[in-house]
């Protein structure tokens, strides 16, 4: 007569077979050793922190000058470098644009003549779904020069302006022209970037533009009248 032995014992119930006891012991021992090693490392760290030794040295002054045998020569060289740098330092009237704080400073040498609230690039990205082109709307950083000054400027809309609005890009230049959106004046700083006016004065002080620097009406008029062509503009 066949005896139904029933299903095999579940591996998850009942006492562990002897070989499993052994495996568990190895795992526990290994974990303990790893734990002790980590404690050791931590203690070594604390020791180093307390200055117990410079084996785990902190970084310091760097290599000492191997031979500063001719201090006079060094002094003369330092003076030469300092003069070189001083020559490069901006003098006269120049503009400094802080793109993060949205501020433009008119400076005359060391002296700040006027601070203006502006709007700089939004950092937005636009992709052309058809042409595969893309634009990042950042205000450029670095040194530029006021290359042109225009009264009652007309905006010649670039391709991205049409793509952004979901419109077809016109073929004729005159179809790109839009009056009255750049304010009364514009100062060109190269590569299609301008310091110009805005219809959205309530957004001054925020990063909302496509890369140009927008300025309020009164400040723009002041800049147009004060800043000559060739004035340096430092953007950061």
């Amino acid at each position: 007569m066949a005896i139904d032995a029933g299903p095999p014992p579940s591996p998850f119930t009942g006492p562990l077979p002897p070989e499993r006891h052994g495996a568990l012991r190895v795992v526990v021992r290994t974990a303990l050793i790893v734990f002790l090693v980590l404690i050791g490392f931590a203690l070594a760290g604390v020791g180093a922190l307390l200055g117990a030794g410079y084996y785990l040295s902190r970084s310091g002054a760097g290599p000492a000058p191997a031979a500063v045998e001719e201090p006079e020569k060094l002094r003369a060289e330092n003076l030469k470098y300092a003069k070189q740098i001083d020559k490069l330092r901006p003098k006269g009237l120049f503009l400094v644009v802080d793109t993060g704080k949205n501020r433009l400073a008119v400076r005359d040498g060391e002296r700040e003549v006027r601070e203006v609230i502006v709007s700089c690039g939004s950092g937005g990205v636009l992709e052309d779904p058809k042409g595969g082109r893309s634009w990042v709307f950042d205000t450029p950083r670095g040194e530029r020069v006021v290359k042109s000054k225009v009264k009652n400027p007309t905006w010649i809309k670039p391709d991205w302006a049409f793509i952004e609005e979901g419109e077809a890009i016109p073929k004729k230049r005159e179809d790109r022209a839009e009056e009255g959106v750049m304010g009364d004046y514009a100062l060109g700083i190269g590569n299609g970037f301008f310091l110009h006016g805005t219809l959205y004065t309530r957004l001054l002080g925020r990063n909302v533009t496509h890369g140009c620097v927008r300025i309020g009406d009164a400040d723009l008029e002041y800049l147009y009248k004060t800043v000559p062509l060739g004035t340096k503009v430092y953007l950061f």
Binding site: F41, A42, A44, G45, V46, A48, L49, L56, S57, R58, S59, G60, A61, G62, P63, A64, P65, V68, P71, L74, R75, E77, N78, Y81, A82, Q84, I85, D86, L88, R89, P90, V96, D98, T99, G100, K101, S122, G123, G124, V125, R141, G142, E143, R206, N207, V208, Y234, F236
Partner: protein, 213 residues
């Protein structure tokens, strides 16, 4: 006469013993200034802005053409690992746990104006800058939460910095074993300063590194 001569002799002896140390110090200062000026004269000749990480005077500044655009004070700092020298460097990497990005939105959830703009307030205050020459700079903000502030008020400094200081020797040990030692610089800044720095120190920007003496 004799009474007056003894203090004078002592003074001469003390000054004499100090002067070699002083002249060595002067020589070191001259050398460091020479390296800094040499690096700056190259950078100032270009139209790009550049930074100056001055760990001797605990400040970071952005400059262009030798002119300081802004200067940020370092609240706390710590250096570990390989020693550094005064000289040129550049930002090769800028890593943040969450990189600021513009939200475009869709038809159902159109992005608000704030979502579409990247502004100073959107910049991270905790991030890493990898500088040329195997220098890792970790920027940490001054704590604003209750317990870390208490920790700092008790005179222990920044909790985040202390935690990193405790772990860093292990990294040094590992690097020594692998024979590739780097330098770690931990800088604690005011959160708004940390964000401003992130805005300005982009990958590829050149600068000057001035380690402490």
């Amino acid at each position: 006469m004799r009474r007056a001569a003894i203090p004078a002799l002592l003074a001469v002896l003390v000054l004499g013993s100090l002067s070699p140390a002083r002249s060595a110090d002067d020589a070191l200062s001259l050398w460091r200034e020479n390296r800094r000026l040499a690096a700056e004269s190259v950078l100032a000749a270009t139209p790009k802005p550049y930074f100056e990480l001055d760990l001797e005077h605990r400040s970071i500044s952005l400059k262009t053409r030798g002119m300081v655009l802004f200067e940020l004070p370092v609240q706390e700092q710590a250096l570990w690992g390989r020693r550094l020298a005064v000289g040129p460097t550049s930002v090769v990497r800028r890593d943040a746990l969450s990189r600021p990005a513009v939200a475009i939105g869709d038809e159902k959830n159109p992005a608000t104006l704030d979502d579409q703009l990247l502004e100073l307030a959107d910049m991270p205050a905790t991030y890493r800058l990898g500088l040329a020459g195997d220098v890792d700079v970790e920027i940490l903000p001054v704590p604003t939460e209750r317990w870390p502030v208490l920790f700092q008020k008790l005179g222990f400094g920044s909790w985040q910095l202390a935690r990193r200081q405790l772990m860093r020797p292990l990294v040094t040990l590992r690097q020594r074993r692998e024979r590739h030692e780097t330098t770690a610089v931990f800088l604690v800044l005011k959160p708004e300063d940390a964000r401003r720095l992130y805005w300005c120190l982009f990958e590829g920007l050149d600068g000057i590194l001035i380690p402490p003496r």
